[in-house]
Structures are given as C-alpha cells and as structure tokens.
C-alpha cells in the first residue's frame, strides 16, 4: 500500500524532529546569580501576619525581618530590627530600642511609628486596617494590650499578662510582621497579601500563579548586599516531580526530599545534601477520657509496644530521630537530655495490658491521615504502628482521612470516635505545643489529658522571664508527661534539602525556615 509508507516515513521524520528539538539540554538554564528553588506549595500570602503554613513562612523569612532574630545555628534569639530590649519588673512591658537607618523596600523609613502600626493592625480590633486580616497566628506573639511610641526609635509593647515565649515568637517567622511597610498596607489594603513590602534581604518582584514566585535582592539592605541577584520559587507540589526537576537541572535547590530518593542525591558528586533537626514532634494522641486509654498502664503499654527505632530507620530512612518526650531536642535550653524514650518491649506492654484488665488484648480505632503538614509518611507509619500494637494485644482498626477532614474529626475531641490518632506539630517555643494540646481544657487537647501539676508547670514557665529557670520547669513538665503517657512519642523530624554542587553557603536552620542571604551560586 503506497499510501501508508508515506505515513511511516513521516513518523520517522517526526521522531527525528523531536530529538533535534530537545538537543539543547534542559539543564544549565538557570542564570548564574539567581537561585531556583523547588518549593513544596504555592505561596498563599505575602502578609506574614496572615500566613499559617510553614511553606509560606519559609519564603517570607527572606522578605521580612522581626524585631529579633534567631542566631545562625540555633533557636536562641539575638537583635534584629531592634538593637536591644528590656523587660519591666512586672514582666508585662517589653521596651525595644530600634535600629536606625533601616529602609523598607518601598524606600520608607522603619521606626517606632511603623512598629506601632504593625502591632495595632493585628491586635486592635478598631484599627483602620484591621480588616486586612484574618491574623490566625498572631495570638502566638502574646496577649498584646497596647503598643506605644516612646520616641522615634523606641517602642514599648505591653501585655495583659506575662508571656515569656514572646521573645522567641518575635524572632520567628510570625514576628516578621513587625517589619511590614505600613505604606504598602495603606496602598494595597486587602491586596497587600498579593504585594507585600518589608525590610528584608529580598523584595517581591513577580508572582505567576502555579509557575513562579520571584524575589530580587534588596540593594539597600541594612546588613549589606546579598550575594545572589534573586530567588525564583517554583511551586512543585508533587514530590516525584520535585525530584525529577532537581535531577534534570530545572531547579538549583529542593526542600523536602522524599526519604526514598535521598540515596540518589547523596551518591552523586553533583549534589549537596543538607539535614537539620528542628522543633518537630510526630506522635500518637491517645484518648485519655475513654477506655482503654483512661488507664495510664494501657497508655504506657502502647509506648512500649511500638518499635520507634525501626520506624525511624526503615520507613523514614533516617530522616528523623526517636523522640523521648513532648519537647523536641532543638530547644537545647528546655529539652531534658536525661529523659530516655520508652524502650521497645512488647512483653512489658502485654504485661501492663493484662495488669490493667485486658489479658486478651483490646480493640481500638486509629485515625490515620493521607498527608498533611509535617506528617512525613503517615499511611506507612500508621500501618507499621498498627502491626506493632497488634503484636502487643492492642488491635487497632485504621480509619484513613484526607488531612482537613482528619483535622475536622480530631480537633473537636476524640471521644466517641477514636482512641488513637497520629499527629505532628512544629513550633518555635516549647510553650506552645503543651499549652495548646496538653493543658487541661486546651483548644487542641483532643485526647482530654489532664494533670493539674502539668498545668501548673506550663503556667509557671509561661510567666517566668529567666530562661534557665523556665527551661528547668519544662524539664519537670517533660518527665511528668512522659510518665503519664498521654501520647506515644515517636519521632523528631530532620528537615532536609538537596542543592546542586554550585550552590554555596546554604544551610538549613532549626526554625525550619530557609534563609538565603548568605547563599551564593557559582
């Protein structure tokens, strides 16, 4: 058939054309001085006061600066936009001396008035720009009563009650709201979330939905010029796509490499692999209000039943370490180094279970999520835990839900629904997690754990301005909670990243934000 030979020839020609077409390698496309970042999600807001996700805060940390900042390698605070600070004797008023000569990206001056504007906007309901919210995480900065300008470069923030976590929160990502440009808020109103404006090392340039988010270096940054000319964030939600973009040279750096792909990168000289533990905890919340976990012995049995070492090495491939208690080791001053994790001891678990009146084991419902911020590999973890629990006599029936549905089921309380739920939490101060999830009657204490001694320690630490004394209180708290075992403590995640070998001067920070002001690219 004459007619179709042509088609075959055409097909061959087409294939050749496609080959020629791609002759230029996809790699080496990123210009010298600009860093292309494979980012886990689309940016949601350019307003640090509105941001709620770690992926947003990772970007915003390069645009906004707080009054204080974290030191380069730890969660200890040091001066940022404020040069120094004092605390009043009643521990309620913080007075900040501000740095002079700091400019916003739009050219305006940073001073006490701008700080007052920023705090009033998010804490005073009658502020003319209060409607540019909501500001869901601002409560973590503390119960702010008022903000006063004492002189052009001195500002006082008064709290309704003492709140010692304030300094670490001010240094954290949400604290970046102190360095927002009020002129930009006034200019854009609700659209400030799409435009932004701060004092930081990079400034917002371009935002193309689903494609890229571009920041240019801020040439007038008060700490000096950064080495890079700019940053390009590519939102690549699918983790396999993130890996293939990195392998093909479409990105210079990728945050959150899936555990299964780490070996691919560490084996090659073309890539640099980074790891950093941070204030993260992966745990099982137990329903302390209902049978069987209303009995401490059964809760301890669950802690003994699970082989945490195996979870961390086999499923998480070393991307996490075994957790001993509620306070992650990243809080060096508050973590109790003497507290040891529950050992893996199925025999002891069985014995405790029998002692509590369940010699033939017990049936429970176990909520597992499909995905979710900080949840690592929740389904694999869930099934491995199910097997460990079953071996000790706790027969868990897994119910799996999509993340938001999952939260909707757990947050109002687990009673009547489930006895076990997997959860994780990232925080910037050791106060927040126990305060929100373990204190009696706390909003996310869905397991209904209650121990007045623990409540008293949390409250005392909250009001204690001396960091050493505060740390000592948290250590007592950890020991009490570990013994009560309202949760099964599983793992502390290590954030990871991979970059091409050309990227220099980058390191991950324990706060889980990614900071690019010391980074360069050959």
């Amino acid at each position: 058939m004459q007619d179709f030979r042509l088609t075959r020839r055409g097909l061959l020609a087409g294939t050749a054309a496609i080959a020629a077409f791609g002759a230029r390698r996809a790699s080496a496309q990123t210009p010298n001085n600009v860093l292309v970042i494979g980012h886990v999600a689309e940016l949601q807001t350019l307003d640090p006061a509105q941001a709620v996700t770690i992926s947003d805060f990772r970007i915003l940390a390069n645009i906004y600066e707080g009054l204080l900042r974290y030191k380069d390698d730890t969660l200890d605070v040091e001066p940022g936009l404020a040069e120094s600070w004092t605390l009043s004797p009643d521990a309620k008023t913080y007075t900040f001396k501000l740095r002079q000569g700091v400019k916003f990206h739009d050219g305006g001056d940073f001073n006490a008035e701008t700080v007052k504007f920023n705090f009033d906007r998010v804490t005073q309901k009658d502020h003319p720009y209060a409607n540019t919210g909501p500001f869901p995480f601002v409560f973590t900065l503390g119960p702010v009563e008022k903000t006063e300008v004492l002189d052009p470069y001195t500002v006082a923030i008064t709290l309704k009650e003492p709140y010692s976590p304030m300094l670490t929160m001010l240094a954290g990502a949400i604290g970046g709201l102190a360095g927002i440009s009020p002129a930009a808020v006034k200019k854009y109103g609700k659209d400030f979330a799409r435009n932004g404006g701060g004092t930081g090392p990079f400034k917002f340039t371009l935002w193309e939905s689903g494609q890229r988010f571009v920041l240019d270096a801020n040439p007038t940054w008060w700490r000096g010029k950064v080495k890079l000319a700019g940053l390009v964030y590519r939102p690549i939600v699918d983790e396999n796509a993130r890996v293939s973009e990195m392998l093909s040279g479409g990105t210079d750096i990728t945050i959150e490499v899936p555990p299964d792909n780490i070996a691919t990168f560490t084996a090659s000289k073309n890539f640099t692999f980074y790891e950093q533990s941070g204030p993260h905890l992966w745990y099982l919340m137990l329903n302390c209000k209902e049978k069987p976990f209303d009995d401490k012995r059964v809760r301890q049995a669950a802690n003994y039943a699970i082989n945490k070492e195996a979870l961390v090495t086999e499923i998480l491939k070393g991307t996490a370490t075994v957790a001993a208690g509620v306070t992650p080791p990243a809080f060096t001053w508050a973590h109790d180094n003497d507290l040891k994790p529950y050992s893996y001891d199925p025999a002891k678990a069985k014995a405790l279970l029998a002692e509590a009146g369940y010699p033939n084991g017990v049936d429970v419902t176990f909520y597992v999520t499909e995905s979710g911020s900080g949840m690592l590999s929740p389904i694999l973890m869930g099934t491995a835990i199910q097997a460990d629990l079953a071996a000790a006599g706790i027969r868990a029936k897994i119910e799996t839900y999509e993340w938001n549905t999952f939260l909707g089921k757990i947050i109002p309380g687990m009673e009547g629904k489930a006895q076990v739920a997997e959860l994780s939490f990232m925080t910037q101060d050791p106060d927040m997690h126990p305060f929100l999830a373990l204190r009696t009657g706390a909003p996310v204490n869905s397991g209904r754990y209650s121990n007045p001694k623990v409540d008293a320690l949390i409250d005392a630490a909250r009001a204690e301005p001396n960091i050493a004394k505060r740390g000592a209180l948290y250590k007592q708290m950890q020991d009490l909670i570990a013994d009560d075992a309202p949760w099964v403590f599983i793992a502390n995640w290590k954030q990871n990243a991979v970059s091409s070998a050309a990227v220099k001067g980058f390191k991950l920070h324990p706060s889980f934000t990614t900071r690019f002001w010391d980074t360069s690219k050959a």
Binding site: G22, A26, P136, G210, D238
Partner: protein
C-alpha cells in the same frame, strides 16, 4: 434548518449549566472539613474560625449560600479566593489558557493519530500493521496517563535530557512559541495516549463496518482509486460515528489534565483545582469546575454541529 438546530442546542446550554452550578455547589458543600479551619490552620481560635465563617458566608443556610453565589455569578462575579487573596475570575483566567492549550493539543494529537492509525489498521486488517497497532492500543488504553507521564519524564527529561520535565516555560528567557512547544511535548503526549488509543479502536471498527457496505463495493467497481474509496467514500461515513466520540474525548482530556498538570507542573486549572480542593477554597473550586464544565458543553456542541453538517439526518431528527 441547520440554524434552528444550532439555536435549539444553544438554548439547552443554559439549563445544563444551571444544573452544573447546583451539582458543583452541593458536592463542595458535602465535602467534610471546615473551610475556615482549613484556612486558619490546626490551631485556630474559635473566634477566628467564627469570623472567617462569617466572612465566607458559611454561617448562612445552604440554600442562601447557593442563592448568593448564583446571584453574584449571574453578574459575572465569581467571588474572591480567601486563600489566594484575589478575585476567583482573575485566577481562573490566568489558568484557563494553559489548560485549553494542553487539552487542545492533546485532543488534536489523539484525534489525528487515533483516526490515521485506525484507518491503517482497518485497511490492513489482520496484516502486521493491524496487529502492531492493536497491541499498541491495548497498552495505550490500559496505561494510566499519569504513570505514562512519569515514565516520559524519566526517559526524555531525566535520562536523555531532551525535553524539560515540567512547567510551561523556562524560568528565564522563556515564554516564546518554541519554548512553550518544547514544554508541551511530554504532557500532551501523555494525555493524548489513552484518548488516541480509544479513537484507534473506534475508527478501526467503524471503517471495517463501512467498508463492507454496498456503496464501497460500487465505488471500487466503478474503478475509483483505492485512496479515494477509503478517504472520501468510506471515511466520511465512518466519521459520523467518530465525531461525537471526539466530543466526549474533550471531556476526557480536560479531566485528565487534573493529574497530568500535577505530574508536569503545568500551570492550568487542573492543578489549581487540586490545591483548591485540599485548601477548601470553595469559591475557586466552584468557579473552576463551572468554567471547565462550560468548556466541555461548548466543545460537545461544536462536535454535534460538525456531526450534523456531515449527516443531515441528525438535523432533521
């Protein structure tokens, strides 16, 4: 005659879209998980949740929520995305072109190759081209397109590094026709494969049936060249059955775009919808689905019109 047919079909669009609004609205409303909590994160205070529910209008009854949405929609107001902090319509318009481009190219590729290969297979029935094509089609139909996408990325993007693995244009100095075309190759092929395979089967069957009929035998007997018999006499008649399926394939590629866009980071509506659903961005999901549904209805209308042009019996009926 033709005009009144088109008019009748056009008038039917309105009730179809109205039905779509109800279904879209109900489906999103029935999805568990409070949008306010999804927006505010795990540790939102009850006051903040109540405020956001009020801002979103979620404290109204369901019929009232639907009524308000529809009322605004009729005035061209799709609302404002609470997550993205911008008007829904702006985001949809930015995402619509990439999706239409990807789906359109995939549809053309699948139609052209599907029909051509189908004709080849029919004409060379039971000979080796037919067998090769039939096996290829079987593989094509049974391969999930997202998996094919990952394979294509692995071979052509990572191993051979011929083509970019994702995105619609280069991050730098990109954006021209050539650049976009290079980025289109892998996702459109992945998306076209299944749709094309279906068309091959359909075309082959339709052609075989038509070629057995008397008028084809008469055409051959008249001494017409084989090429003319196949393309003019047989194919034109087979096409009547193929065109409505192409219309249905349009729906398939638009739907398939949801995961292909995710695999290839294509900045289209599909990927937008995936993230909007997980963040419970209700207005964005409703708007996005509505626009996709509208595109689907429109394409099917065009297919029906094309079919009626080919086959006058349809207009009459």
């Amino acid at each position: 005659m033709l005009n009144s047919y088109i008019l009748r079909r056009l008038l039917l669009i309105a009730p179809v879209l109205f039905g779509v609004t109800i279904i879209v609205f109900l489906v999103i409303s029935l999805v568990p998980g409070d949008p306010a909590k999804a927006i505010l994160g795990t540790f939102a205070t009850p006051e903040a949740v109540a405020q956001v529910r009020h801002d979103l209008g979620l404290d109204e009854s369901l019929p009232a929520q639907y009524g308000i949405w529809l009322f605004n929609l009729l005035q061209g107001d799709f609302g404002r995305s609470y997550i993205l902090h911008k008007p829904v319509i702006v985001e949809i318009m930015a995402r619509l072109f990439p999706t239409l481009l990807l789906a359109g190219v995939a549809l053309v590729l699948s139609s052209v190759f599907g029909i051509l290969l189908g004709i080849v297979a029919a004409v060379r029935q039971n000979a080796w081209p037919d067998k090769v094509i039939t096996v290829a089609v079987l593989i094509g139909i049974s391969t999930p397109s997202f998996w094919l996408g990952i394979l294509l990325i692995f071979w052509f993007g990572v191993r051979l590094a011929w083509l970019p693995v994702g995105g619609m244009q280069e991050m730098f100095g990109g954006g021209g026709v050539w650049d976009v075309t290079r980025h289109l190759v892998l996702p459109s092929c992945a998306l076209a494969a299944v749709a094309g395979a279906v068309l091959v089967r359909l075309t082959r069957g339709a052609m075989l049936e038509v070629m057995r009929q008397d008028f084809v035998r008469t055409a051959r007997a008249k001494g017409l060249p084989e090429r003319r018999v196949i393309f003019v006499h047989a194919f034109r008649n087979a096409l009547v059955g193929i065109i409505p399926v192409i219309g249905l394939e349009a729906g398939f590629v638009l739907g398939g775009a949801v995961y292909i866009e995710t695999v290839f980071q294509w900045p289209g509506i599909g990927r937008m919808l995936v993230s909007a659903i997980s963040t419970r961005d209700i207005l964005l999901v409703q708007g996005g689905v509505l626009v996709i549904a509208f595109a689907y209805v429109l394409i099917n209308l065009l297919a029906d019109i094309a079919q009626s042009l080919l086959d006058p019996r349809i207009r009459a009926g």
